[in-house]
């Protein structure tokens, strides 16, 4: 069973009071859980796990944390002939993430403080609906540069208009895409659970804990 994060009542109350005090009407106290479920609706992935923190750093292009500032339509691929039957249209969306900290990897891959990440979705899922539901969670991303990647039978990449032409097109590992809002006691992933992480991670439950594992690994304490 997908373990649902237990909301922290005290954190929720504190945030609600803070929001009330400054008069903001944004749903900043929303959990990332519902958003993650909505995102993953109709998509199930089989993947090779990222392994230990050491393996993850060695085999990833960028590891970063930041804020999910926007969600919009995804990369499309131009198919030819009978391969163009609509089955592979609208199966990705784009996360725009404002990077707050590069935990590992090549910082030069960040464009104007942002990264753009292709995320799997089902054909019927509307990026616009997801954008409206975005609780602007903190995110931790383990990214691979897929700028040059093409699926079989595709001849060209079609970027969404809102993705800068010089920005790398990243893909997040399914076990390297974690979301958490202030009201969540634990981070959530659209595609997996923390239980699926390799035991060498030490069972991190929050983005802070996972980021700390990566930082420690870079400083030599690396399982």
């Amino acid at each position: 069973m997908r373990p649902f994060p237990v909301k922290s009542l005290s954190a929720t109350l504190a945030l609600a009071l803070a929001v009330s005090a400054c008069g903001h009407e944004q749903d900043e106290a929303e959990s990332a859980e519902e958003f993650a479920q909505q995102l993953a609706l109709g998509v199930d992935l089989s993947y090779i796990g990222m392994g230990s923190p050491r393996q993850m750093i060695a085999e990833s292009d960028l590891v970063a944390r930041g804020v999910l500032t926007d969600v919009f339509e995804g990369v499309e691929y131009e198919y030819e002939g009978p391969a163009d039957d609509g089955r592979y249209t609208g199966i990705y969306l784009t996360f725009e993430v404002a990077v707050e900290e590069v935990l590992a990897g090549d910082e030069s891959l960040v464009r104007d403080g942002k990264v753009y990440v292709m995320v799997d979705k089902a054909n019927p899922t509307s990026p616009r609906d997801l954008a409206a539901a975005n609780p602007r969670p903190e995110v931790l991303l383990v990214l691979l540069d897929h700028t040059q990647w093409l699926p079989d039978h595709a001849s060209a990449v079609i970027r969404p208009e809102r993705m800068p032409s010089d920005a790398p097109i990243f893909f997040a590992r399914p076990d390297g895409l974690w979301l958490q809002t202030p009201s969540d006691q634990e981070m959530v992933s659209p595609f997996t659970t923390t239980e699926a992480l390799d035991p060498t991670w030490g069972r991190p439950r929050t983005i802070d804990e996972m980021a700390e594992v990566v930082r420690a690994c870079r400083q030599g304490d690396c399982p």
Binding site: S46, I48, G49, P82, P151, T192, A196
Partner: protein, 171 residues
């Protein structure tokens, strides 16, 4: 290769795939997309596991996919690394009932996992097919998350708990 330890299968509800969706009925018909390449025995193997071990009925093999109402469209394609298999619901009858799923296998990347190509191709196929009928991830069986580099037959079979769920719903 990784062996994850998700919660015990006994805790799994049904349906437990990400969209909490089931197939539209107990008869699961299927086809291969025109772009399918590699081992053509993989889809029949997975469909056979479903039909032979559960109360679901394997329906017509439509050959090359053309009709979007066919329950399962099988295909092979490169997928973004490190994804080796993907099931998407292409269309819903209504919320919670998937009309047609697309199951894609990245055969070269599956083969790169290790020495058990035959078994791993089938493990991922049985896994994705399980999602199309409502199964979520669990451990020690075909629905393991992430994929498990093992020739053990149990990774190409659904758990007794999951089979009970399928039979209770579709039987």
């Amino acid at each position: 290769m990784l062996v994850a330890s998700p919660p015990p299968a006994s805790a799994n509800p049904f349906p437990n795939n990400v969209d909490r969706s089931v197939a539209d009925n107990a008869v699961h018909d299927w086809c291969k997309r025109i772009t399918w390449s590699y081992d053509t025995a993989i889809p029949p193997y997975a469909m056979g596991v479903l039909g032979d071990t559960t109360a679901m009925v394997v329906g017509t093999n439509h050959g090359t996919c053309q009709d979007n109402r066919i329950d399962v469209w099988w295909d092979t394609s490169s997928l973004p690394t490190p994804v080796v298999g993907r099931r998407t619901c292409f269309s819903y009858v209504t919320t919670g009932i998937c009309n047609s799923s697309t199951l894609v296998l990245d055969i070269p990347d599956i083969d790169a996992i290790g020495p058990y190509d035959y078994d791993m191709r089938r493990q991922v196929a049985v896994h994705e097919l399980g999602h199309s009928v409502g199964l979520g991830h669990s451990s020690g069986n075909a629905m393991n998350d992430p994929v498990t580099n093992s020739p053990d037959l149990k990774y190409r079979r659904y758990s007794g708990h999951d089979i009970a769920h399928i039979n209770a719903h579709y039987g």
